[in-house]
């Protein structure tokens, strides 16, 4: 008689993409209309995350009600802009291309020694101010495109690409988001290219982070969703340094996921004991 023993954890990162797409289209429609709008604006980089959100928004609101803003900097790769244009063409959404080179360079002319990190963050925040300005002109809400892996690892710029009114993909790990993208018909070259913030020439997320999303998503799933402890993770084969590094990234970047802390003085403080849903009254 053979007894089956499961020593390895079950890490199921597959999603029912059809069901997820249906929920997310309804989410976009519902949250935008209840806020009194009917349109949406997003920054389209040509990567898989923003392309997926573009497809979802086009289906949820109708392509004429979605504005994609393509905002290259002089070091952005031509392939990124080309992929963004391909998504615009397929989905039929409206678009606007605004180069951010002039304003970024004008600023850093005064600070020529600024690090790559400062420049990358400044670009992300420049794009954010453009999106919010265009959202006022277009009468729509800004859609977020940060996925769960990025949010947990803090791989994003606070008040930059992390800023949005609503985020349909923030509870999907990168590997799950890819399944949704494939289901929605995001073109293959976009699905298959290595994830990049296009922060500088040749930059890739996985190169910068030092691990792949496929690896880290398995770890994040057990740590965050299933609440596995350090020793339990190591016991099933995760390297201690990897576990510690990821735990540190999650903790150290938590501030990016929260609103600023307010010093409490009164009996009812806005960030603490003044508790209302954001959808209050709608």
């Amino acid at each position: 008689m053979i007894t089956m023993c499961y020593r390895q954890p079950i890490i199921n990162l597959t999603i029912n993409a059809e069901l997820v797409a249906e929920i997310l289209r309804r989410f976009i429609r519902n949250e935008i209309t209840r806020a009194g709008f009917g349109r949406a604006v997003l920054g389209l980089s040509g990567g898989v995350d923003s392309s997926t959100v573009a497809f979802l928004a086009a289906q949820a609101l109708g392509p004429e009600n979605v504005l994609a803003v393509v905002m290259p900097y002089k070091t952005s790769s031509e392939a990124s802009v080309r992929d963004a244009r391909l998504v615009i063409e397929i989905t039929g959404i409206r678009s606007l291309q605004i180069s951010i080179t002039e304003q970024i360079d004008a600023y850093f002319d005064r600070f020529p020694d600024a690090s790559q990190m400062r420049r990358a963050n400044k670009c992300a925040r420049e794009r954010m101010t453009i999106l919010y300005d265009q959202s006022a002109a277009f009468n729509g809400l800004v859609l977020g495109t940060s996925n769960k892996s990025e949010l947990l690892l803090g791989y994003g710029t606070q008040y930059g690409d992390l800023a949005s009114a609503i985020n349909p993909v923030g509870d999907l790990y990168k590997t799950q988001l890819r399944q949704l993208a494939a289901h929605l018909g995001v073109p293959k070259p976009i699905l298959e290219k290595p994830p990049t913030g296009d922060l500088w020439v040749g930059q890739t997320d996985e190169g910068e982070l030092g691990f792949t999303y496929a690896e880290v998503d398995r770890l994040l799933f057990l740590m965050v969703d299933r609440r596995w402890r350090r020793a339990e993770l190591i016991r099933v084969g995760f390297a201690p340094e990897f576990v510690d590094r990821v735990a540190m990234l999650i903790r150290r970047n938590h501030y990016k996921r929260r609103m600023p802390i307010i010093a409490k003085l009164s009996h009812r403080t806005v960030d603490r004991d003044f508790r209302y849903a954001r959808d209050w009254g709608t």
Binding site: I15, N16, F27, E31, R275, Y276, D279
Partner: protein, 294 residues
């Protein structure tokens, strides 16, 4: 051909309307209008009973609005609904303010224009995404009640339904119908069905068979702060088969017809209630109480 000692064979088929709606968050006036519209529709469909979901007058994430949204069962808002329902029975979810100034997550059953029973949610989930104990007082009773047309009825609210003890009490009460109103959010999208919807369906079908009762689930739809309420309201017969199933995610006024004679047939084929040994259960519970609390 057998004849029943009393003429139950003439019992009328019951028509139940499941008002799977999407209440506005914190707008009682708007929700009252929605209730009135759905009551009107249910009446035009000759429903005997219309069931609204948990907190149907207020929406779910009421948080600090709780005291602002609370009503008394005898208040003007609920009186308007009672008048509109007329002879049709009705189940409505609301924030109840008690005479002792406590706020409960409550559901009322009304028949013939008057309130027969109010159930106050006993198990207030306060974990994960839930935070109910912060805002609500917990109910301290799980009791069935008799109705004119629906036999003996038990009502539970969402989390109550997940506690086996609540179902066991309803079995001891020998209910004909067990009704659960809920605001269940979708979680778990890795399988063919939403995981929470799958679990609810399993519980409904198991309870229906184990209690030999009709189980009615009415769950809301719509979104609040990114949470998706999945709907999927259903009526399950005492044989565990689904009689009616409202759609997932969409608003609907779903109608289900139920022949009360099915209860008699179920109690003949699977007489679990007859064989239940209530005193044994009570004695064992008293023993456990003695061991745990002495």
């Amino acid at each position: 051909m057998m004849t029943a000692p009393d003429d139950r064979s003439s019992a009328k088929v019951l028509r139940i309307a499941l008002a799977q709606c999407s209440p506005a968050l914190g707008d009682v006036e708007r929700n009252l209008e929605m209730h009135l519209r759905l009551i009107e529709q249910a009446r035009s469909q000759q429903a005997d009973l219309v069931v609204f979901p948990e907190l149907s007058l207020t929406g779910y994430f009421v948080r600090d609005m709780t005291p602002d949204l609370a009503v008394e069962p005898s208040g003007a808002q609920i009186s308007r609904l009672l008048a509109a329902a007329g002879p049709m029975a009705m189940v409505v979810g609301f924030v109840e303010e008690s005479p002792r100034r406590r706020f409960f997550n409550s559901v009322l059953f009304a028949e013939g224009g008057r309130i027969i029973h109010v159930h106050r949610k006993v198990y207030l989930p306060t974990y994960g995404l839930f935070d109910e104990q912060r805002y609500f007082a917990a109910g301290d009773r799980i009791q069935a009640f008799d109705t004119a047309r629906f036999g003996r009825m038990g009502m539970l609210i969402c989390e109550d339904f997940w506690h086996l003890s609540a179902a066991a009490i309803m079995q001891a009460e020998e209910v004909d119908m067990l009704l659960c109103v809920s605001n269940s959010p979708a979680r778990g999208v890795d399988g063919p069905k939403i995981r929470t919807a799958e679990t609810y369906e399993n519980i409904c079908r198991a309870y229906a068979q184990l209690l030999g009762a009709v189980v009615i689930l009415v769950n809301r739809v719509g979104f609040e702060d990114g949470l998706c309420f999945w709907g999927g309201s259903m009526v399950v017969g005492p044989d565990g088969q689904i009689i009616a199933h409202a759609p997932l995610l969409d608003e609907a006024l779903a109608l289900a017809e139920f022949d009360p004679l099915e209860l008699r047939r179920a109690s003949i084929s699977t007489p679990l209630a007859r064989d239940e040994r209530l005193l044994l259960t009570i004695e064992e519970l008293v023993r456990i109480k003695r061991q745990r609390y002495s």
